[in-house]
């Protein structure tokens, strides 16, 4: 990978930190060059947000309204496919799998949408600001019970997971820290039936706590400040994002990325810059595309418009529906996506994509002519070539749509 040419480097960038590009847009990006393209993606993602895809009038504050749930999830999925600001949207997707909340407990679709909006708005900025916003975000207050945690009965759910899963990792805090943090975060009130989160001073325990080695911690600001001071924070966050984008948590690979993150006073864009440059220089391993990013990339490179019901049904079958992660750790990722149930659903969904791919799409044209190198290139593969096994299967396919569907489930497309 150290010797990637400009075309492959740009394809790598878009697969790993974006959502892939159709052939004509990829060619334009290649003409700009990898560094210019990385800077362009970063500028877009840290500049003014594009038009918000959701219409709030379709998001009533009603936990029992199924239409709003469909609308929230479907609109997000479609906006990822249509994005012109792919790093911003890929990062929002990654934060969704990191700072996990799930619609099945949050119940009000609007609150989940607002949390995703948070990721899209400040997801590449100051990590401390993001952590504070997430901590008192209405969906998070519901999901991890911060909204029912009072001085009389602190709830440890968020207090534990904020350190274990969101910032520091197991082994970098004590049980006393869990209890102290839970106390300091008491007083917020939020339930699915409420219109917004409120802070009730009389429900808050303002006593100074000893938390993560720091005295005087008593509220959300001091909790966030204490976490930010922890020496393991940068490594943990860099490792978590590198696992998604570089396919590795190797300490030697992570260290310089974590260093850049620390040097920037925890600016996420600085972390991504260091990570992307490491990747372009050859760091990292293969990555298994999870069903959602796989579907988004496949839809973008083919120009397919799979009907929403088939898309969400297929993703459900593959075990990954946006806004419905299985637990607070998010989706497992990696080889867990080789579970036979996921393989079957992904294959069937690939056929839906092929069925709705326009005839003039470059990938469909190549699938029709049987030119497999052209097909690999049009699909945006980093190394635009199929293996002998994949090529044999693709040659044996009888119809162009069948060939395109198979190409979308080749190891080269799913894993790279």
């Amino acid at each position: 990978m150290g010797s990637m040419n400009d075309r492959d480097a740009v394809a790598w960038l878009h697969r790993r930190i974006g959502f892939g590009l159709p052939a004509d847009e990829l060619a334009a990006a290649v003409a700009r060059g990898p560094q210019a393209e990385l800077q362009r993606l970063l500028q877009l993602a840290t500049g003014p947000a594009p038009t918000d895809p959701w219409d709030d009038t379709q998001l009533p504050l009603d936990p029992k309204d199924p239409a709003s749930k469909q609308y929230a999830i479907g609109t997000w999925l479609e906006s990822m496919i249509a994005t012109t600001d792919p790093l911003r949207d890929r990062m929002a997707w990654i934060w969704h799998g990191h700072f996990v909340s799930a619609l099945d407990k949050v119940r009000v679709a609007k609150f989940m949408v607002d949390q995703i909006r948070l990721f899209k708005t400040i997801g590449l900025g100051d990590f401390a600001a993001l952590l504070k916003a997430v901590t008192i975000d209405p969906a998070m207050l519901i999901y991890l019970d911060g909204g029912s945690s009072t001085n009389k009965a602190p709830n440890e759910n968020y207090g534990r997971e904020v350190m274990e899963l969101f910032t520091l990792g197991v082994g970098n805090y004590t049980e006393d820290d869990v209890k102290a943090g839970a106390k300091a975060l008491t007083g917020y009130k939020m339930r699915p039936a409420l219109p917004q989160a409120t802070f009730i001073p009389k429900n808050h325990d303002d006593d100074p706590e000893h938390y993560l080695g720091i005295d005087g911690v008593h509220d959300v600001d001091t909790v966030v400040a204490a976490i930010i001071k922890q020496p393991t924070l940068a490594t943990f966050i860099a490792g978590s994002i590198a696992d998604e984008m570089l396919g590795t948590k190797d300490p030697a690979t992570i260290a310089p990325i974590a260093q850049a993150f620390t040097a920037s006073t925890f600016n996420v864009a600085a972390l991504i810059t260091a990570l992307a440059n490491a990747g372009l220089a050859g760091a990292g391993q293969s990555v298994v595309l999870a069903p959602v990013p796989w579907f988004v990339i496949a839809s973008r490179v083919t120009g397919a418009q799979v009907p929403q019901n088939a898309a969400l049904g297929g993703l459900r079958g593959a075990a990954q529906v946006p806004m419905l992660p299985p637990n607070v750790a998010g989706w497992s990722g990696g080889q867990a996506w080789f579970a036979s149930g996921t393989i079957v659903a992904r294959a069937n969904l690939a056929l839906e994509i092929a069925n709705t791919t326009p005839a003039d799409n470059a990938a469909m044209t190549a699938a029709t002519s049987g030119d497999l190198d052209a097909l690999a290139t049009a699909l945006g593969l980093v190394t635009p070539k199929f293996s002998a096994a994949s090529a044999d299967a693709l040659k044996a396919a009888k119809a162009p749509k069948q060939r395109l569907a198979l190409a979308l489930i080749t190891p080269e497309f799913v894993v790279s």
Binding site: Q70, G313, R316, A318, S332, S340, G341, N348, L349
Partner: protein, 437 residues
């Protein structure tokens, strides 16, 4: 756009209240608690065809030949079923101690004595009312309980706890404890070990990977993706280890799909699983119904893991746990009846697991936080009956039930049951208690 009802079917009925959020299953598991099948056009037609065929086959030939043998040949094999209650089931409200500390610690969550299900012969413990269907199995000595189950040195993390459980505390191992056993076998039938509802890392191994079936009705490839094409893509293996793993998984999936289709078409009960009634993925009842079909129809299925999420009841526990335990009790009762009907009652051992119990004292949200010692159920005709271990509320450890039974004692019994070598798989045998007669 699609209509509302159709969408709910697609994403799993998100209107129903559930409280599984903290961390209701395991980080290392395969994806799955929101999993269920595709209802896309590619599979709908095939579904109806399959059930027609299956209905015919079931009516005319209930003991027809299945791949690899016949139903009759299945009579003398040993089958292990693990039921995973992901999230940390509250053992104290499951197998309820008569101790006064129980009431004191749980002013709103304690189950009233009048509502508890009596376990004949016992005055020190009783069952949650939702578990009433299981009482006859207790009376028949086909249901036993282990109390205070848990690894030493727990830290209340779901993920650390689940890692300990699925690896049998061999924390550097990439294999699950049953995966290590599976690896020791010659190449197995694709359904030899099968995970239902969600993935099951305890089965992880590179040699004989388990089939993972989220939803039986959609476990089939569209006919345009023929076996030949998919198998062609599976070999020769790529030099990239992840791509090679994808290829291996693909060929194994093709085999599992075909074998599974044969099982379903041979099963008498061809009813599709009932619509989901709660969040957190497929129900235990559905999963156990499929497990019964697999075991009675495929003589090569020896290990089945059925999982369900939602047991992480930090808030509003009473209603949530009542629903979950009802699902568990109904599922287990129907499963045991199906197995007995097929003449296989003596061949099957069922064990329930959950990553930890919950704190003795309730929290302020009508729920309970993460604890340690927990309750496991053991079911079968060859089990040691009664209650082993205890929830000693007079001697709590920092507000938790003491973990007095190492889960590896359960694993030792399970491995003995299926003919595995516990000393090899677990590093040594754990014989503090016996779960088998």
């Amino acid at each position: 756009m699609i209509n509302r009802r159709e969408f709910l079917g697609i994403i799993g009925g998100v209107t129903v209240v559930s409280l599984s959020a903290c961390s209701s299953s395991l980080r290392s598991s395969a994806p799955g608690s929101t999993a269920a099948g595709s209802t896309g056009p590619g599979t709908t037609g095939a579904d109806s065809t399959a059930s027609t065929v299956a209905g015919t086959a079931g009516a005319t030939s209930p003991t027809s030949t299945v791949p690899g043998g016949t139903v009759a040949a299945a009579a003398h094999r040993r089958v292990l079923v693990i039921v995973q209650l992901n999230g940390g089931n509250d053992g104290l409200n499951t197998l309820i101690p008569a101790a006064g500390q129980y009431h004191d610690a749980r002013p709103t969550l304690a189950i009233a004595e009048a509502d508890r299900i009596v376990l004949s012969g016992r005055t020190d413990y009783a069952l949650h009312p939702s578990l009433a269907p299981l009482a006859p199995l207790w009376t028949a000595n086909q249901l036993a309980f282990l109390d205070g189950v848990g690894f030493p040195d727990q830290n209340h993390s779901h993920f650390v706890a689940m890692d300990q459980w699925w690896r049998a505390d061999r924390l550097s191992s990439a294999e699950g404890w049953l995966g290590t056993y599976l690896k020791s076998l010659a190449t197995t039938d694709p359904l030899y070990a099968t995970a239902l509802n969600s993935g099951a890392p305890l089965l992880n191994n590179a040699t004989n990977p388990a089939a993972v079936v989220f939803r039986p009705a959609s476990f089939k490839f569209n006919k345009l993706l023929s076996d030949d094409l998919l198998k062609t893509m599976s070999a020769p293996l790529s030099s990239d280890p992840l791509q090679a793993a994808a290829q291996t998984a693909l060929s194994r999936s093709v085999a599992a799909v075909n074998s599974f289709a044969d099982v379903l078409s041979n099963a008498n009960d061809t009813a599709q699983p009932a619509a989901q009634t709660r969040e957190g993925g497929a129900s235990l009842s559905d999963g156990l119904a499929t497990a019964a079909k697999l075991i009675t129809e495929n003589p090569n299925t020896r290990i089945v893991v059925v999982s369900a999420a939602g047991f992480d009841t930090h808030a509003n526990q009473l209603a949530t746990q009542a629903d979950l335990l009802k699902d568990l009790a109904n599922g287990l009762t129907a499963f045991m009846a199906s197995i007995a009907k097929a003449g296989m009652a003596d061949d099957v051992l069922v064990v329930t697991t959950s990553e930890f119990g919950r704190r003795v004292a309730e929290n302020g949200s009508g729920g309970t936080d993460h604890g340690t010692g927990n309750v496991s159920f053991v079911l079968g005709t060859k089990i040691k009956p009664g209650i082993q271990g205890d929830a000693d509320l007079a001697n709590q450890i920092n507000g938790d039930v003491k973990a007095g039974i190492d889960p590896r004692t359960i694993y030792t019994g399970c491995l003995d049951w299926i003919g595995g070598d516990a000393a090899t798989v677990l590093g040594k045998r754990y014989d503090d208690i016996k779960i088998l007669v």
